[in-house]
Each structure stands twice: as structure tokens, then as C-alpha cells.
């Protein structure tokens, strides 16, 4: 090294590399709203199904509309956020789960074999438990792993619960794992965004 100033400049370059690598990897995607949206959609479908004379259209219409809304709103976000391996892995888990649920329940509904509410809730909760656990493990996010545990507990409970107990348990799981968790996610994302740009 020829001088102190040059040495400081080189250290500054090294620090810039570290800061920018961390900045690039920082997850800035906003997905909390998706949990809230789907939580509300489940409530709408349940209400329509229960107070709409058990309409066969309640679930297919609500789920299809919510899927379309999610896709449209996500497109705007995906267009500007960078794609990382982690974000692609997590998106793949949720997209695959969504397609599985759609194909399974649409087919069961159309064929008239979706009569058992207990079986329906057990399968939905198991699938949501799997997706939340996978996502939580990738992100090392304890809150999401806790949500997975709630869904898996509901899976077991749905097989043994009696009458209205199951409905209340299902509504409570949706409230905590979709609405509350989604709002918590949105608060976390807003905090990360306020940290702002790192100017080069």
C-alpha cells in the first residue's frame, strides 16, 4: 500500500461489496397481503356456504375469484422485484399447493363427493400445514412454523371433532394463521422497506 487514503478507499470498496450483496439478498417482496386476502376469502366462502343454503358455487366461485385477484396483483409486484432462488422456491411451494387444492376440490365438488366437512377441513389444513412448514423452514421463520403447527393440529382435530366445534376451530385457525399472520407479515415488510436505499 502506498498511503493511508488509498488503503481507506480499498476498505470502502470492500465494505460496499458486502453491503450491496446483503441488500440484494434482502427479501423485500410483499406477501403479507396474500395471507389476509385468502383469509377473508375463506370467511366469505364459509359464510356463503352456511347462510346461502349450502350453494355448490360458494367455494368454486370465491376461490377462483381470489386466485384471479391474487394473480393480477402479484403480477405488478413480480414485475419490479428481483428474482432470487429463495423467492422462486417459496413461490413454487404455494403455487403447487394452490393448483393441488384447486384440482382436488373442484373435481370432488363437481362429482358430488365433497359431502364430508370433516374430511374437507382435514385435507385443507394438512395442505396449508405443509406449505407453511416448507416456507417457514426455507425462511427460518418461527412464526410461520407455528402457523404450520396450528394447521396440522386442526388436521388431527377435524377427524374427531363433533358438530359446531369443527367450524369454530376452522374459523379460529383462519383468523390466526391467515389474518393475524398476514398483518404481522405486512408490518415486518413495511419496517424493512423504511430502511431505504443504500446509495453507491
Amino acid at each position: 500500500m502506498t498511503g493511508n487514503a488509498e488503503e481507506l478507499e480499498l476498505k470502502d470498496r470492500l465494505s460496499l461489496i458486502e453491503t450491496m450483496i446483503a441488500e440484494g439478498r434482502r427479501t423485500t417482496a410483499s406477501w403479507g397481503w396474500v395471507f389476509v386476502l385468502w383469509g377473508l376469502a375463506y370467511y366469505i366462502a364459509i359464510a356463503w356456504d352456511n347462510w346461502g343454503g349450502h350453494s355448490p358455487w360458494a367455494w368454486p366461485v370465491t376461490m377462483t375469484a381470489t386466485f384471479a385477484l391474487t394473480a393480477a396483483l402479484s403480477m405488478r409486484q413480480v414485475a419490479i422485484r428481483p428474482r432470487t432462488t429463495i423467492s422462486r422456491a417459496i413461490a413454487s411451494v404455494w403455487i403447487a399447493m394452490g393448483i393441488s387444492m384447486f384440482v382436488l376440490f373442484m373435481s370432488l365438488g363437481i362429482s358430488g363427493r365433497l359431502a364430508d366437512e370433516h374430511g374437507f377441513v382435514a385435507v385443507v389444513a394438512a395442505m396449508l400445514g405443509t406449505a407453511n412448514a416448507t416456507s417457514g423452514m426455507i425462511l427460518k421463520w418461527k412464526m410461520q412454523l407455528a402457523c404450520a403447527l396450528v394447521w396440522w393440529t386442526l388436521t388431527g382435530y377435524a377427524c374427531f371433532a363433533q358438530g359446531k366445534q369443527l367450524t369454530f376451530a376452522y374459523l379460529a385457525a383462519i383468523f390466526f394463521c391467515q389474518i393475524v399472520f398476514g398483518i404481522y407479515g405486512m408490518i415486518m415488510e413495511a419496517r424493512m422497506r423504511t430502511q431505504g436505499a443504500v446509495h453507491a
Binding site: 480499498l10 450491496m20 441488500e23 440484494g24 428474482r83 432470487t84 443504500v198 453507491a200
Partner: protein, 99 residues
């Protein structure tokens, strides 16, 4: 005594170094995202990205999303190699002063 390495002049520019460091952590990134992370102007950012593209360190892809044009940048293998060598050279130059 071993010869001190020379720093790659294409990477040594502060904005170009920031861009490569950002791109190494993502699969691909849009122009506006790079602009927001670096806080640079459109003109300067475009010029520095062109230099990196000419050196073969980044690849560019243009597409339309919802009828809006989008320019996506991703780091090439040559860019990854160049950044790795640059960091090694930097560490060698700084030597014991890094502790």
C-alpha cells in the same frame, strides 16, 4: 516478495462494483430496482450497465410485462469470476490491515 495484484478497472468504478455486488445475490433484476438500490440517475446507471455488458459481465434481456417494457439484467459466469478475483485482489492488497 509476491507481486501485488492489479485491480480490474471495469469493476473498480464504485457504481459498477455496486451493481455487480447486487446482481450476484439475485437471479435477475429489473433496471428500476437497480436504480432504487443504488440511488443513481437513469443516464449514469444505463451507461455503467452498458460498460458491464460490453465487458461480458452482465447479460440483458428485454421483455414486455402488462404491455410495459422491462429491461432485466443478470450476472454472467464471467462477471461472477471477475468479481471473485477482484475481491481476492482487494484482500491481498489490504493484507494485514484488514484485521
Amino acid at each position: 516478495m509476491p507481486e501485488l495484484p492489479e485491480l480490474n478497472p471495469v469493476i473498480h468504478g464504485k457504481l459498477r462494483l455496486a451493481l455487480l455486488s447486487l446482481l450476484i445475490g439475485v437471479e435477475e433484476a429489473e433496471f428500476t430496482w437497480l436504480r432504487s438500490k443504488t440511488g443513481s440517475t437513469d443516464g449514469n446507471l444505463g451507461a455503467q450497465l452498458t460498460k458491464l455488458e460490453e465487458a461480458g459481465y452482465v447479460a440483458v434481456k428485454k421483455k414486455f410485462v402488462q404491455r410495459k417494457p422491462q429491461t432485466l439484467y443478470r450476472m454472467t459466469e464471467a462477471g461472477r469470476q471477475a468479481l471473485t478475483e477482484y475481491v481476492q485482489a482487494l484482500k491481498q492488497l489490504l493484507g494485514g490491515s484488514m484485521d
